[in-house]
């Protein structure tokens, strides 16, 4: 039953929140408590998956290929814990930073909807159910990104909405084609049915459609143009939530699908994945280098870093994929922390534009430090987690003999450092063109950012202890038989 809790809890919280719609204080308290409960459940799930192996549950007691399967292995559990942890910290950040009007307009309700969708996507073992969770997540995000309705937000969200709807449509079409060909929607059953046989034209095109659909969600090259156009227009708590969850779910699903369904055609897909990873990394970082807005730079970096994860998928060895999973978690933490401190800068100075900023180090050294740590982590400087993430990926890449992509990854990290240094120099270090008055910064948001940075540092220091968990997760994901046996064993009479 614990397997349904990560989905059930947010849905229950939505009901509770709607009951106290008019009372902002009650809403905030309920959100904090609910996020804490989610974190506890997620950690418990991770511990039990780590000690006694993957968990499977069938909705409504319908047996495995017929009912909806929920499945949690180490990878899902790690993702759940990361999202729950970020959710817990970000709720405080949002309480501190977001304006009251947005908070009153169901911000917290939508947030729980987002979590329900994200957690559901991590846990489900059924194709159509995955689509439903995607839609839950995406619709909650549609409203979150338009909440407030400023001109910039509306312009950005039109692109966001249309691209994501196109992605969802591709996804459903592919599901329809797969169902027509194989007669199953259960992922384990499907993996078993199409294993070791030539997929044929229809199934092959279905998988290409899946890849495009998830590529749009994950914002890989050439489908990423909606991201820098829409994310920065949202207020910083929303931006941070989106960066922490949405694109990462896309990457999660790409990893899952790649491991489960790509059998005999792995060489064909590996080429595609490497080319896409290279273009994603390079174009993202180049566009970041040419921007002069903190939010823009950070959102182009989201894209660039997605490229690293996709590269790990292409390498597809235990080291490479383990590196990708580690990188995914590190990126969720570091990127969110960087966006959070960027939001604090904006609250203090009223601008994200690097040209107007300056001297923040002199005024608030601690805030500068809170930006510096995640920035160094994104660039990959030891002992931050970003360093280990890149180390695993690059080691995995050389080990598997994928030299070209690995060298590109190393070069991109230099450029990443360059644009992080640019934010540092311009916003925190230089003498501003004209001195502007600083507004007070919300203490709660400040402490939330500090808490996340501490978590980030601890995560980096604890890498030696944790690395094995990630490689174990990667081994579990790569072992297709393991997944199939775990899901279908319950059905055996």
């Amino acid at each position: 039953m614990i397997l349904f809790l990560p989905v059930f809890l947010p849905l229950l919280t939505i009901v509770l929140l709607l009951l106290v719609r008019k009372k902002l204080h009650a809403q905030q308290w309920i959100s904090v408590l609910a996020s804490l409960a989610q974190l506890v459940v997620a950690v418990q799930l991770l511990v039990s998956v780590y000690t006694s192996g993957p968990m499977v549950a069938q909705a409504g007691s319908w047996q495995a290929p017929f009912g909806i399967t929920f499945y949690a292995d180490l990878f899902s559990a790690i993702m759940l814990v990361t999202v729950a942890l970020l959710g817990f910290i970000l709720v405080f950040y949002a309480i501190g930073l977001l304006d009251n009007e947005r908070k009153r307009n169901s911000f917290f309700v939508l947030l729980q909807g987002l979590f329900a969708g994200v957690n559901g996507s991590f846990l489900t073992g059924d194709l159509f159910n995955l689509y439903v969770w995607f839609e839950v997540m995406v619709i909650a995000s549609f409203v979150l990104i338009t909440l407030g309705g400023t001109k910039d937000q509306l312009k950005g969200s039109v692109k966001y909405v249309v691209m994501n709807l196109l992605g969802s449509t591709f996804f459903v079409i592919a599901i329809g084609l797969i169902y027509g060909q194989t007669g199953t929607l259960n992922m384990a059953d499907l993996a078993q049915k199409i294993a070791n046989q030539d997929p044929g034209a229809v199934t092959g095109s279905a998988f290409m459609l899946f890849f495009v659909a998830f590529g749009i969600k994950a914002a890989v090259f050439p489908f990423y143009f909606w991201l820098p156009a829409s994310y920065p227009s949202a207020p910083s708590p929303v931006f941070a939530f989106f960066a922490a969850t949405l694109t990462k779910v896309g990457v999660y699903v790409i990893i899952r699908f790649y491991a489960l369904f790509i059998g005999s055609e792995i060489e064909f897909w590996q080429q595609i994945v490497f080319v896409i990873a290279a273009f994603t990394m390079v174009s993202g970082v180049l566009m970041a280098a040419s921007s002069f807005d903190i939010r823009k730079i950070l959102s182009f970096h989201i894209i660039s870093q997605i490229g690293y994860m996709v590269m790990g998928v292409g390498i597809f060895t235990i080291t490479g994929l383990g590196g990708a999973i580690y990188f995914l978690v590190h990126n969720m933490l570091s990127k969110t922390a960087a966006i959070m401190s960027g939001g604090l800068v904006n609250q203090m100075k009223g601008s994200y534009n690097l040209k107007n900023l300056g001297y923040i180090y002199k005024e608030k050294p601690l805030l500068a430090f809170l930006f510096l740590i995640p920035a160094l982590s994104l660039a990959g400087i030891p002992p931050t987690p970003g360093f280990y993430g890149k180390l695993f990926l690059i080691y995995g890449g050389f080990e598997a003999g994928n030299i070209v992509i690995t060298i590109i990854a190393i070069l991109v990290s230099v450029l990443t450092l360059f644009s992080m240094v640019k934010i540092w120099n311009e916003a925190f270090w230089k003498k501003p063109a004209e001195e502007t008055d600083s507004k007070p910064v919300s203490n709660m948001a400040y402490s939330a950012t500090a808490a996340l940075v501490v978590v980030l540092l601890l995560f980096g220091f604890a890498t030696f202890l944790l690395a094995d968990v990630f490689f174990e997760a990667s081994a579990q994901v790569m072992d297709k038989e393991f997944y199939i046996n775990n899901v279908l064993k319950i059905t055996a009479p």
Partner: protein, 116 residues
């Protein structure tokens, strides 16, 4: 019947693509709606078309599997319809707010709208 449906699905998709590529944001939303119609029909066809066979089993007993249609695609369409309905409602409100805010339905207004 299959051929007719295939042509209809193709038509719906081409209408959708045409509308999506227009400059008016109203046509964009219409395009999205047509896209979801095309997709729903496609889901329906994937279940295999059988005329005169209901998608349920009579209460009194067991029935030959060749005598019933597959109920799953219909359940999927029902879900997709509801989702599509919600999304269409949201998109309509979005373009209304967009029109209120910018005073135009021209998509070219979106260009350069990125916050900088």
């Amino acid at each position: 019947m299959l051929l007719v449906l295939a042509i209809v699905i193709g038509l719906l998709f081409s209408i959708a693509v045409y509308l999506l590529l227009r400059r008016s944001i109203v046509k964009l939303v219409l395009g999205i709606i047509f896209l979801s119609y095309g997709t729903n029909l496609l889901l329906f066809v994937t279940g295999g078309l059988q005329s005169g066979k209901p998608a349920f089993v009579p209460a009194d007993g067991i029935v030959q599997i060749s005598e019933v249609s597959d109920p799953l695609p219909q359940a999927l369409i029902l879900t997709a319809l509801v989702i599509g309905f919600g999304v269409a409602a949201f998109a309509l409100v979005l373009i209304y707010r967009f029109y209120k805010e910018t005073g135009t339905v021209d998509m070219d207004e979106l260009a350069g709208g990125d916050p900088s």
